[in-house]
Symmetry: D2
């Protein structure tokens, strides 16, 4: 299993009048978590797009257990439980607050696609090689 963690400070803009982070903003927190997970492997999502591969989100699931508040320093944990074997990659993600309370759990499914043709493809070998070390 590959696990990476990163921290995000909650912005005022991300709160709503319920005094908590608006649920839709977790999509961005999860995005940051995945981007930093890929960076930790010595690669970037930006670099993947530069190689002509894009990763559209095809499924997004989350359970909101406890709210996050303005200025909270959140920890986003991003897990890859299985090494992708085809065009599909599934991340499990969790958000914790500073008291290490679990706020949100999520599962995000993305596809590897060739930007030019919009056809499914597989993970770039450079990234796959890095990931194999963890499995």
């Amino acid at each position: 299993m590959f696990t990476a963690t990163t921290q995000i400070r909650v912005r005022y803009a991300e709160t709503d009048q319920m005094n908590v982070v608006y649920h839709g903003n977790y999509a961005q927190y999860f995005e940051v978590g995945r981007a930093e997970a890929i960076r930790e492997m010595g690669f970037t999502y930006k670099g993947m797009e530069a190689m002509g591969i894009i990763m559209p989100i095809v499924e997004w699931h989350a359970k909101f257990i406890r709210p996050a508040h303005y200025d909270d320093l959140l920890t986003v944990k991003t897990m890859l439980k299985e090494l992708p074997t085809d065009h599909r990659i599934e991340f499990h993600q969790e958000v914790y607050n500073e008291k290490e309370k679990l706020l949100t759990t999520g599962k995000v499914v993305l596809y590897f696609m060739t930007a030019d043709t919009m056809e499914k493809t597989v993970m770039p070998e450079v990234l796959a090689a890095k990931l194999r070390e963890y499995f």
Copy 2:
């Protein structure tokens, strides 16, 4: 079953560099869909908060089938398949483009909660009475 539809024009701000609507923005489209569904019943979510009842989102699920693009006039379909019997309410939502292609499906679970005590409660009777007509 209760079904309501509303239309939303995609904003430039809602697109990303993949030339499609960023997946996290569907949380807002679904929110608008639910708000307009409640308004159609002669009630408003704003009115519910004024009564001291808030509805935090506890689960959010979506599948992204086809992308939405800038300036698309989307149709958001919001369905209540079952009448809530306790604090839990589950909406099914779908987004279509102008060619009536299904872009996104979702399921959103919310709780009725008393704002003051943050304890679970049930749907206000005024709304429940309206809804019973559909079931």
Copy 3:
């Protein structure tokens, strides 16, 4: 002078914990106002991009006089006080609530640019012809 108005319903996502619309979201309200102003002239900003012309924002100014609240039905007024003569176009914008109170005033400056070359250009003649009728 060319003036167009459009209406926008405030989303929950757009509020913050001060119980008002987050100031940064007026950028989207102004964007919608400009898009609808162009549509009223029988043209679309989307169509302009399809012609290879993009309009990046180069200046954005706003004064926030009164707050907007969740579920408010806002009126965005978009004014073109002068016909552009070169690559520069300047919109004046105002946001009103349902009680016709002025909430926000703004000025937004955009450039007409050729997407391919990223060089300054002028307003497409098809749009200029429409606009001349108002001046």
Copy 4:
């Protein structure tokens, strides 16, 4: 003069189909800049709200000189050129990319207000005392 700098990584969500950061998102970058500037003085905006003082934005001005791109590590510079003497505080802000190119300049005016009464007030003395050291 008081100056503080902080860094922000551009999120995918913050880009638009022009392949740049949507102009409205600089409101969030500036917000983060101001929050970190206050934190650097050993105080937090969150703490100010806990004291019953809120700081609504009353003016927001920006010039967009060069675009920011996905995954750019931006530097936000926040400057207080004058010590506030009444309810009004004016921040000057600048955004730079990794090549130290100036992307955006801004000026943001906020008021100190008592949350309960919504009346103008002055900067909390604890913060004013810290700031005086810089002037």
